[in-house]
Symmetry: C2
Subunit: 145 residues, 2 copies
Amino acid sequence: MTLQQFLPYRLAVLADAVSRAMAAVYQQRFDLTRDEWRLLAVLGDRGRLQAAEAAQATTVDKMQASRALRRLQARGLVSRQTDPDDRRHVIVQLLPAGRSVLQQLNPVIQAREAYLLAALSEPERELLDRALDRLLQRAQELQQL
Amino acid sequence: MTLQQFLPYRLAVLADAVSRAMAAVYQQRFDLTRDEWRLLAVLGDRGRLQAAEAAQATTVDKMQASRALRRLQARGLVSRQTDPDDRRHVIVQLLPAGRSVLQQLNPVIQAREAYLLAALSEPERELLDRALDRLLQRAQELQQL
DNA sequence: TATTGTTATACTCTATAACTATA
DNA sequence: TATAGTTATAGAGTATAACAATA
């Protein structure tokens, strides 16, 4: 067993390095946490969502999502309103200030992603794409044992 | 920007799932943390090391490594001795009890890794191997900006 | 009785830096 | 003065479960 060749270790080291490279952008420029950024990104992409939907789409658990959304609301980046049709639901929506943050962040974030992907040829990218999906599926199967 | 297609997000989700699938093994069977397991694995592979070398090889920082190694020593899995040639150095070495833990863990851990990799063909595995290296290199470049 | 979201709490992890001893 | 390792400490993140409001 060589740790340096062990796939779980390599994935952890890579994900950590990539995550830091991205976090540096949204932390330094807008003082956002990873959860806050993910929630903003999902709201930017999919519009109004229930809190639970936003949590699921970002793989942030509902408790952390609740706190992150409250911070985003306090900063005027999103709105939170109880759904009149089912008053247990909270509808979350991006506000103009939140959209502005995304519009400033996205070019930088996407440029960094593009720089990473430029390490690979197009066929390699497609294969990586499929490999990540398949590995995730198997990892989730292992977790359920 | 779709979070679900964003490479850093996908890597984070995958690494987390894979990490949990492995941690379940060494946590439940031997009450080891991730850092403790990494240090044991490196010591099993490379024999006696200075504390700083062990930390570097596991990407665990020296402070966390110091604590993890003390816990491993308290459980009788490793020994820590000041190097007589330079009394600032601490030499860490796997003890028989530590080797026994590794011998019980490794087959299970490696079977899980093999199950993950069975999702890919041999040429795909080779490509993934190179892709992870190249992506890591670029991620580290981005971090230094 | 079940569901959505919030609150509480304890625990772990992480980051920064100060400190000790050796060189 | 620099290095290896340890200790201290505060802050962030995580996990579990209890709770209130609503259905």
